[in-house]
């Protein structure tokens, strides 16, 4: 008995040894910075002078900061729109590609739709800025050609955030597209055949068969998509530097500006903690609601 106990202890010591590097990494690069950031939110600190205890004054100021309110509103709107668009378009593209009979065309479309994902957000934003230019952009060229007229994609406060949504979604649709392709591949062909025979065709097949059966994929892409989208920085920054006004300014941009441009690290940390809490709440809500609509086999 003593031998078994000592063997067990030796095994768990060995286990800790294997897990230790990862744990160190997580603490050093994830948990540690989060805790430091949380602690920093109670201090005034501009790097150049010593830290001064601020108590809850940063949290109090956030409630009165109109720019913070604007940026967080923009961010939530942006994230929800992006998740919706990515899921709808990714789903539709995956359905369309799945039904292409020629396998070489399927391979081609799979690569083409996934390609933007491997580009950097900065690169995509740079050429998209040209595409959406009000005077010289190709998008307005074609809109005028079909009689719609040009749109101030990057210079109108009403439209600029939508433009950023489109640019970001265009780049990231490949992610949901690949997820849904995988999801559809896991649906047994016989179930699709049974649906055809039972009269579940067209939109009914999508509603009653495909969507329920890929609901775990939809849930996963929504959770991951939201968490990523809420942290967007490079697209709005490169497209318009957050303008016009604050119409295209996101939470992470504001955190960056406060911390690294205004050297208000304490307040920047407070904003970051608030963003963290929002992500936590939304994700928790998603997990709670998933019991009602996500089907796991």
């Amino acid at each position: 008995m003593l031998e078994i106990a000592s063997l067990r202890k030796a095994k768990s010591r060995l286990g800790f040894l294997f897990v230790a590097p990862t744990m160190l990494g997580i603490f050093a690069f994830t948990a540690g910075p989060i805790l430091f950031s949380f602690a920093l939110s109670f201090f005034y600190w501009d790097v150049l002078s010593p830290m001064k205890f601020a108590g809850l004054s940063h949290y109090d100021y956030i409630m009165r900061d109109d720019v913070a309110a604007m940026t967080f509103r923009n961010t939530i709107y942006f994230a929800f729109m992006v998740v919706l668009l990515q899921n709808i378009i990714g789903f539709s593209l995956a359905m369309a590609v799945r039904n292409v009979a020629n396998k070489y065309f399927r391979y081609f479309f799979r690569s083409v739709f996934f390609l933007p994902l491997i580009m950097s957000g900065a690169t995509v934003s740079v050429f998209m800025a040209y595409f959406f230019d009000t005077n010289f952009g190709i998008v307005n060229y074609y809109l005028e050609l079909i009689g719609v007229g040009s749109v101030r994609w990057l210079t109108s406060t009403d439209v600029v955030l939508v433009t950023t949504v489109l640019v970001y979604a265009w780049q990231h649709i490949g992610f949901t597209f690949i997820l849904f392709l995988g999801g559809f591949a896991s649906i047994p062909e016989e179930v699709i055949d049974a649906a055809d025979v039972d009269g579940l065709t067209g939109w009914r097949k999508i509603l009653y068969v495909y969507i329920p059966m890929v609901s775990p994929t939809i849930f996963f892409s929504s959770v991951i998509g939201f968490i990523h989208a809420v942290q967007v920085f490079d697209h709005p920054y490169i497209l318009t530097r957050g303008g016009p006004g604050d119409a295209n300014r996101t939470a992470v941009m504001y955190i960056y500006e406060k911390a690294f441009q205004d050297l208000e690290f304490g307040y920047g940390s407070t904003l970051a903690i608030l963003l963290f809490i929002i992500i936590l709440i939304v994700t928790a809500l998603q997990f709670y609601v998933q019991k009602k609509w996500v089907f796991y086999e």
Partner: protein, 369 residues
């Protein structure tokens, strides 16, 4: 119910012909089984009838109407799949009722029909369960319920019992037979199991390599196969085949088995001796037609050395070598014992078949053609 007619039906995948110009006429209310080895085209044929595959050539008629370009949902067919194909996210009630909902049937009527079918199939206590909470047999009954509730003109079964264990398979076979007796709807049933085919079918269609080998009642196929393939496929264990030739000895015709064993040529071949002498032949006989001596009217006794004994309870299968080939006989358990190395068997010559080795057709069929 409706009749079903397939004429000149073919299916090609690229350069590969999977179904080759087949023609079948299925009467109202008939239970027809398509049987054959894997890859013979039986499931593809069924899928073409269902509308899940397009045909390359030929017509499919259901109730006299050509349905080649009609969608599966409009053909008035219901299908039961090998892997059940239940909607995993719907409970049993919803799985059974969904097709009626899609057709706009009244809710009260749906409820009535679902409960009727559930009661018939013993599913009344399972209506709120999901498929993952059911056993294989229960899932298959739900799949059948889903088909029955639609009251279609034609039922299509695609190897529905393949995934069940042996005991359950026998039970479900009986259920399917009872359903056919109750609803008397035309059924097209696909299986690779010849026992299922023999027990269920009004008529059997034996397929091989995309073509139809023979169509007939189970007894016809058993007693009068027209080819070596049908003869070997129908019957379990399968028919024994031994090379032979017809020779004349003292003005009598004999079958000479390759190791100088002579059997008097049976009466039914007496009018074609000359033709038979010119052919390369095989002698075919079923294990149940070579038994312990029973004084058959036209019998031939032979002493054999036992290779293997397989006791099955009600019978014992005796494996032996004859004419250089491994053969099998069915005897009473009391006739053999492990201590015996050789036994006397009697072959019922009225039940043998002669096969032309070049065409693989049963000789009587060649003669009649």
């Amino acid at each position: 119910m409706a009749n079903v007619n397939l004429s000149g039906l073919s299916k090609k995948f690229g350069g590969v012909t999977v179904v080759d110009k087949i023609g079948i006429d299925i009467e109202h209310g008939e239970f027809i089984v398509l049987v054959g080895p894997s890859g013979c085209g039986k499931s593809t044929t069924l899928r073409m009838v269902a509308g899940l595959e397009d045909s390359t050539e030929g017509d499919i008629r259901i109730g006299g109407l050509v349905v080649n370009y009609v969608q599966p949902k409009d053909r008035d067919v219901a299908m039961v799949f090998q892997n059940y194909a239940l909607y995993p996210h719907m409970n049993v009630y919803k799985n059974i009722s969904i097709s009626l909902s899609m057709r706009g049937v009244d809710r009260a009527e749906i409820d009535k029909r679902v409960k009727e079918v559930a009661s018939t199939l013993g599913l009344q206590d399972l209506l709120t369960r999901l498929p993952k909470q059911l056993s294989g047999g229960q899932r298959q009954r739900v799949a059948m319920g889903r088909a029955i509730v639609r009251q279609p003109a034609v039922f299509l079964f695609d190897e529905p019992l393949s995934n069940l264990d042996a005991k359950l398979r026998v039970q479900m076979r009986t259920e399917i037979k009872k359903i056919h007796q109750r609803v008397a709807t035309t059924i097209i049933y696909v299986t690779h199991d010849q026992t299922e085919a023999m027990t269920l079918a009004d008529r059997i269609v034996v397929m091989n390599g995309g073509k139809i080998e023979q169509i007939g009642s189970p007894q016809e196929l058993y007693d009068f196969p027209i080819s070596k393939f049908v003869a070997s496929f129908i019957g379990s264990p399968s028919m024994n085949f031994v090379a032979c030739e017809v020779v004349m000895e003292e003005r009598n015709a004999f079958l000479k088995i390759s190791d100088n064993f002579l059997i008097r040529l049976p009466e039914q071949y007496s009018d074609c001796v000359d033709m038979l002498m010119e052919q390369k032949l095989e002698l075919g006989f079923r294990p149940e037609h070579i038994t312990e001596p029973r004084s058959y009217k036209y019998g031939h006794e032979l002493e054999i050395d036992i290779d293997v004994l397989e006791p099955l309870g009600n019978d014992t299968m005796v494996y032996f070598t004859f004419g250089g080939q491994g053969c099998c006989a069915r005897v009473l358990p009391s006739y053999v014992s492990k201590s015996r190395a050789s036994i006397l068997l009697e072959l019922d010559l009225s039940k043998i078949h002669l096969i032309d080795s070049d065409s693989n057709l049963i000789v009587k069929a060649v003669q009649n053609a």
